[in-house]
Amino acid sequence: MGTGAGYSPRIVDAYTAVSRHVVAGARGRAPAWPFSILETTIFYSKFFSKELIDVMKGLEAQGYGTDEIARLFYGPSAVSHWLYLAGFPFEGLSREDVLHFIERTIDIVSFWRRTDPFCLEWRNAIWTNRQARESASRPGFLEPAPDGGLAKVVGRINMVAWQYCLLLQIGHRNYSHEFHGPYDLENGESLFVREYFNLRPSEIWAFATHEAIPFQRMTIIEAYEGLEIKVDMFNHMLASSSLTPHLRRVMILVDDSIVSNEKRAGDLLDNWIGIIARANEFVRGYSKEDWVRKVIEMKYWLLRHQKRILGRDWGCPAEVVALAGDYASVEEMSGRAIRGQIARMKGYSEEDAIANITQMYLDNIYEGKMYF
């Protein structure tokens, strides 16, 4: 791979990791509901990237450091998605601005994942192993009986909560969930943690009211035995087998209250089923344009705290919403770009395909060459 004089090695590493994900997606292994992330990235990158850079600069001007900015964005997986944005054409931004934005994005991701910011080891390690061991020794863990009743309930709670988050975020954008680990507990168990948050974005979704979803956060800490779990930088999870038979201990926290027994876990599952049923009923009949509009609204919603700090209105500008009405032309362009990327990879080994796409991103960022 040509890496060009003056290319930042950390930017090359970041785009190698992003390209690995693109290759996996193009070969049908990554989720793409309700449309490919590439389609929407091209659609909003031109205006939203400028917004992000502006917000970042505004916070820096007010003295906010990397750690404080990182905490405003909840977790590393949502921020990792910005790398996609930066790999697409920017309009009205200098190369210096783009490189600054990418470097700051990597700084933020590295704040959360100190040792492996791009999950190249297939682990999303936000806690240290020591933190994980301390969490695993807290009181409040439930132990599934051999019949697996509780394990099945936990699997179902996780599945439904994840679907709800995908619906809120319109795909895998990680504004309301972060799955991290696995952490080796050095007793034959590995710990895996699911954090669900921002569960009530009622400014964007009318169904997400306090009455409909009475909690804002849920954390599930799971200790597994005999199961290999891998996670990529965008939080996609690959387990070596079904999870339920391998679950040895679990702690469920709902807004900091521990779910104390299997009966209560069952009640929580029932609660979640009602929540997802109402959410799905709400979006039934949504057109692609409706979904695109929601994607845009959610992008701006993510910046609400930051823009309030800067004394700005966080709502999505009307001219940006209007773009959703012109979605057909954008869709045509994105379709062309995706087909182009796939065609370029035809016959390539996975390694060559990753190298090829990484080079495209780098050429775009550093040389201003447009492939899309």
């Binding site: 049908g28 989720p31 509901w33 099945k152 999870m237 690959l238 087998s241």
Partner: protein, 108 residues
């Protein structure tokens, strides 16, 4: 009678189960699913959640081991076969089939 393979795909979640096929062609079809049915679809989405909860197995046309149906099948511990290419064409509502998630097969 010997079992016959009718659909082959990517083994996505282990286990073997027999059930009645329901082919879902959109979110509105989720209501067809009964407890213990085999969910068959081009792909699964969050809009299929209530159907997934009733499924004894999941079979899809698209996807690989990191796809949505593969992840949800492993999560809830039911057999999963993905990336079959043609399950929604070859399987029909109410067919009795066996899903072998270890081998990636759907059998008569």
């Amino acid at each position: 009678m010997a079992e016959k393979i009718i659909v082959k795909g990517v083994p996505a979640s282990p286990g073997r189960v027999r059930g009645r096929v329901k082919v879902l062609r959109g979110p509105a079809d989720v209501d067809k699913m009964r407890e213990g049915d085999v969910l068959v679809a081009a792909e699964t989405t969050p809009e299929y959640t209530l159907g997934i909860l009733r499924a004894a197995a999941i079979v899809t046309d698209h996807g690989g081991i990191l796809s949505h149906p593969a992840i949800v099948a492993r999560e809830i511990g039911v057999p999963g076969v993905v990336g079959t290419g043609n399950a929604t064409e070859l399987l029909r509502d109410d067919m009795e089939v066996t899903v072998d998630g270890d081998r990636g097969w759907v059998l008569t």
